[in-house]
């Protein structure tokens, strides 16, 4: 068994290494660059000096690395709908030092997802996927023990619950049973209708935020600017924070997770706001 495993490992490592060490392939003839993104954790040598943006066809913004245009992993031209997002993405590429750390470039990742739509889903499917989290929403599930945590959940989560029930005029409720609360169909219908107004890009961002926070309610709180990123992340990690207070903080696990969660959540929220405001931004630019 061990023998087989070792053999497998050798073969696997052998197959991977030359790939990882391979330099980036540039299709320079077409003056278009397809960055070899590789896996999420792989790092690649930085192969460019200057990062700039330009406005191409249809008013979409493109990212230029030296004189080449950036492409998505799927091979499409990398374009974003407005200047703010383009500058933010360009800043991510510009901030890379010797190696490209794709796991720190959250906005680029989100744009790639929206452009390539790797799972090939339509709007309805994305809305359903996002709302599926409501049934198992973090802040709907309460503990019965220990008393300190019960009180903490009540004090911290109830105000957000009250806010969303008033804001959308819905009933959600919370429960300490493993089955969770019975959420009425009308509630889901209300959220579904609300999400219909989102475009594909902002839905991509919203779904990302929801899957990070493990909560539809907290995500709406953040997107509707009722909560800050820090607060939403704190509420999402409430039980962990409670345990930290009791047992102490471990930097390489707790802080590491928290900063990663904050960064991802912030990127998702920013992505939603930037991609749903492209029309108003354009209007402003025209007026100026």
């Amino acid at each position: 068994m061990l023998q087989g495993l070792c053999k497998f490992h050798r073969r696997f490592a052998g197959a991977l290494l030359p790939f990882a060490a391979r330099p980036l392939t540039l299709t320079s003839s077409a003056h278009v660059l397809r960055a070899n993104y590789g896996s999420a954790t792989a790092e690649r040598r930085k192969f460019y000096q200057d990062v700039s943006i330009s406005q191409g066809e249809g008013g979409l913004f493109e990212i230029n690395l030296d004189r080449r245009k950036l492409k998505t992993p799927g091979g499409k031209l990398f374009t974003v709908p407005n200047e703010a997002l383009a500058i933010a993405v360009a800043t991510e590429w510009d901030a890379q030092k010797d190696t490209l750390k794709f796991y720190t470039m959250h906005l680029t990742t989100l744009c790639n997802t929206a452009l390539d739509n790797p799972t090939q889903r339509n709007k309805d499917q994305m809305i359903s996927a996002a709302l599926k989290f409501l049934e198992t929403d973090t802040i709907c599930y309460r503990v019965e023990d220990p008393p300190g945590l019960v009180e903490l959940q009540k004090n911290e989560w109830d105000p957000v619950m009250d806010w969303i029930e008033k804001r959308y005029n819905v009933i959600i409720g919370s429960s300490s049973s493993i089955m969770g609360p019975q959420i009425p169909e009308e509630t889901k219908e209300t959220f579904r209708q609300h999400l219909e107004s989102y475009n594909l890009w902002s839905l991509t961002g919203l779904e990302y935020v929801i899957s990070q926070l493990k909560s539809v309610i907290l995500s709406f709180g953040l997107i509707d600017r009722h909560l800050t990123v820090e607060h939403a992340v704190l509420l999402s990690r409430l039980e962990e924070e409670y345990q930290i207070q009791h047992w102490g903080n471990v930097e390489w696990a707790h802080d590491y997770d928290m900063y990663e969660l904050r960064a991802r959540t912030a990127a998702g929220a920013l992505f939603v706001h930037l991609s749903s405001e492209s029309s108003t931004l354009k209007k402003k630019l025209l007026r100026d």
Binding site: S52, K101, T104, H106, E260, L270
Partner: protein, 110 residues
Amino acid sequence: MAALSSPLRICRSILKELRYLKGPEYKGTMMYSYVLEQFRKNQVTSERYCRAQREAVHMSHTYQCLLESTRHHLELHNHYHGKGERSTQEAASLVGLRLPAQPGGKGWED
């Protein structure tokens, strides 16, 4: 909602993060001019409640959080996980095991 800090402070923090990213030449970046332009544009003279301004403050705060958290996360990542995964040999020796060196040797199973 937790009180947002003043626009001026958020603006300063964003610029500070840009300096962490780009060093002394951070003033030449696109983001530097964009952030300053946005903050100037959104300055209002009256203290009246302004929705657009509040949205801008929230967004800039989110961006500041993105930059700061990414920096902290990367620092911790380099500190604790920077070397990548351990090799099979290292992982085995952590728990006092050795990889088999030759067929039939210690730790070798058929």
